[in-house]
Amino acid sequence: MSHAIDSADHHHGPDKGILRWVYTTNHKDIGTMYLILALGSLLIGGTMAFVIRAELFQPGLQLVDPNFFNQMTTMHGLIMVFGAIMPAFVGLANWLVPMMIGAPDMALPRINNWSFWLLPFAFGMLICTLFMDGGAPNFGWTFYAPLSTTYAPPSVTFFIFSVHIMGISSIMGAVNVIVTIFNMRAPGMTFMKMPLFVWTWLITAFLLIAVMPVLAGVVTMMLMDIHFGTSFFNAAGGGDPVMFQHVFWFFGHPEVYIMILPAFGIVSHIISTFSRKPLFGYTSMVWATASIAVLSFIVWAHHMFTVGLPLVGELFFMYSTMLIAVPTGVKVFNWVTTMFRGSISFETPMLFAIAFVVLFTIGGLSGLMLAIAPADFQYHDTYFVVAHFHYVLVPGALFSILAAVYYWLPKWCGRMYNETLGKWHFWMSFIGVNITFFPMHFVGLAGMPRRIPDYALQFADFNAIVSVGAFIFGLSQLIFVYNVWRTTIGGKGEKATDKVWDEPTGLEWDIPSPAPYHTFQEPPVVK
C-alpha cells in the first residue's frame, strides 16, 4: 500500500536537492531558473552601469581607464540585452504559456532543460573575458567590424562562442514555444481566443527563429575573418565593413521587437485586470503585433543613416520606420481606451503597467524623431540615442517584466508580495528612471557623443544629475529583490486566493495558488 502511494507521489512532486534543478523538465522549474538567471544578469549589468555612471559623474577621468570604460559599456549592453531582458521573457513564457493555454507542460521538455542550461555557460564565458589578457570585448554591444575583428582584443573569440551558445539556446526556446502554442492548446482555444501574452510570444518566437541565425551567421563571418583569413568585412581583401552593419541590423532591428512584444502582451493583461474591463480591441492588438513584426524586417538601415546610403535608401528606411508608429499607436490607444471609464485600482503591477504606457510612448516618440533621416544626422551616436533606447528598454521592457512578476508571483508561490514595499519600489524606480534617462535627451541634443568616458564641461551638470538618478534607480531594485525573497523563500505575506485579483481573465487563475507542480493534466475545455 505504501509503495503505491510512494510511486504516485513520485509523479506529483519534484525531486529533492540540487539535481531537481539540473534534471528538471518541468516548465515551472525551468521558468523559475530563467527568471533567477535574468535577475542575476540584471544585477551584474546594473553594477557595470554603476561603474559607467560613477566615471561620468564628473568630467575628466577619475575611476577607470578609457579601455575599461569601453569594456563596461559593451558588457553592460550585452548582458542586459541577452542576459537579462531576453531570458526574463523566456522565463515568463515557460511559466505562463502552458498555464494560459491549458497545457500540462511545454511541448519539448528536454529541449527546454537544455536551452536553459546552455545559458549559464554562455554568460559564464562572456564574463570570464573580463579577466583575460587584453580585457573583455570593448567594441560596443553592436560589435561593428573592423573594431570587433581587426582591432579587437583576443577575447573576441570567446565572445563569438558565447553568442553562438546563447543563440542556440534562444532558437531552441523559440521552437519550443511555437510547437507548444500550435499543438497543445486546450480544446476550444482557437487562435483568436488565445491570451495576448501567448499571441505576442508566438510572434516573438517567429522573430527569434528568423533572426537569431542571422546573428549566428554574422559572428561566424567575424570568426572566419579573424582566424581563417577570409575577408567578409575587410576592405583590403575585397570585403566591406559597411556590410557588417547591414547584416547585424538585419538581426538587430527585429531583436528590439523581440525585447518589447512580450511586454505588450503582459501590459495588456494587467491593464485589463486592474481596470476591471475586458481589453479594448483584442483583434486589433493581434494584428498590430503582427504588423510590427513584419515591418521590423524592412527598417534595419535606419540605424545606419550616416554610413552613406543613397537618397532613395534614406527615404525608404525613413518612411518605413515611421510606418511602425501606426500599429504602435493602435496599441497605446487600446491600452488607454481599456482604462477609460474603468474601475481602476493602483496595485503595484498596475502602477508599473501605466508607467510602461507613458514612458514607453516617450521612447517611441524619440524613436520617431530619430527616424527622420536628416535629423538623425545630428542625433546619430549621441546621448539622444542612448536616452531613446533606454526609455523603451528600461521603463519599457524591464518595467513590464517587473509588473509581470508582481502580477503572477502570488499565483507562482501562493503568497502576496508586500504591497507597501512594492509601492516604494515602483515610485523609487519611476523617479530614478526619469532622473536617469530624461536629461540624456538634453545632453544628446546638445551634442554629447555616446560611449565616451570623458566629456566637454558644458555637459557636467546634467551628467551629475543622471548619475544620481542611476544610483537611485539601481539601488531601488534591491527593494524588489528583498520583496521577492521574503515572499518566496522567506515565506512571509498573506495567503493568495486562487483568483488573486478581482476577476482576472485567463486559465491560469482557475488553478489553485500556489500553482501545483503539474497543472492541466486533463485539458480544460474553453468555451
Binding site: L108, T150, V175, V179, P213, V214, M221, I226, N234, A236
Partner: protein, 176 residues
C-alpha cells in the same frame, strides 16, 4: 487538429543561417546594380583600338585621391592631382609610394570611384590595384595606371574622382 512538427519548424533557423551568408553576394549584386561603393568601373581587356574608334569625344575631369594612413609615412600620392579624360583616348599616369621600412612590403590598393552611379563610365585598361605590388625596403616605386572615359558616358558626366586606399597584404586585416 493538425500538429506542427518541431523538425519542420527547425528548418527555418537552418535556412535563415544560410540566408545570412547569402546576404554577402546579394550585397555585392545590390552594390553593382545601384553603383554604391564606386566599385563598378569597367575593366577593359579587349583590343585598345576599339576604344579609340568609338566616335564619342566627350570629356570629363578625373581627380585622383590617395589614402594610406593617418601618419602618411608612406608618401602615397598621385603624380597629378587631376587630368582631362576624353572618351577613347588612353591616358597613363602614376601613383607614387615609398616604403619607409627595412624590409620589403606587399601592398594591395583598393579603388573607389565617385560619384558611384557614374563609376561604370570609367574604363581601366591597366591598374596597380589589379594585383598585389611588392615595394622593396626604403625605396620609392611608381605604380602605373591607364584609364579612359567610356564611349557610353552620357553628356552630364563631366567629373569623376578616383581614390585608392592602401593596405598591407601580409596582414590583410591590418592597416599600416
Amino acid at each position: 487538429m493538425k500538429k506542427m512538427s518541431p523538425w519542420k519548424i527547425s528548418l527555418v533557423p537552418v535556412l535563415m543561417f544560410g540566408f545570412g551568408f547569402a546576404l554577402v553576394p546579394l550585397y555585392d549584386v545590390f552594390c553593382e546594380v545601384t553603383g554604391l561603393n564606386g566599385k563598378n568601373f569597367e575593366v577593359f581587356t579587349g583590343d585598345k583600338t576599339t576604344l579609340e574608334n568609338s566616335g564619342n569625344h566627350q570629356t570629363a575631369v578625373l581627380q585622383f585621391l590617395a589614402d594610406a594612413d593617418s601618419r602618411d609615412n608612406w608618401h602615397f600620392k598621385p603624380e597629378k592631382k587631376s587630368m582631362e579624360l576624353q572618351a577613347g583616348k588612353l591616358m597613363t599616369t602614376y601613383y607614387e609610394v615609398t616604403n619607409p621600412y627595412d624590409y620589403p612590403v606587399t601592398i594591395q590598393a583598393v579603388p573607389s570611384v565617385a560619384p558611384g552611379e557614374w563609376a561604370e563610365y570609367l574604363v581601366k585598361i591597366e591598374c596597380f590595384c589589379f594585383t598585389q605590388q611588392v615595394v622593396p625596403a626604403h625605396s620609392k616605386v611608381k605604380l602605373p595606371l591607364q584609364v579612359t572615359l567610356s564611349a557610353k558616358a552620357p553628356k552630364e558626366v563631366n567629373h569623376l574622382s578616383l581614390s585608392y586606399r592602401l593596405y598591407q597584404s601580409e596582414s590583410l586585416g591590418g592597416t599600416f
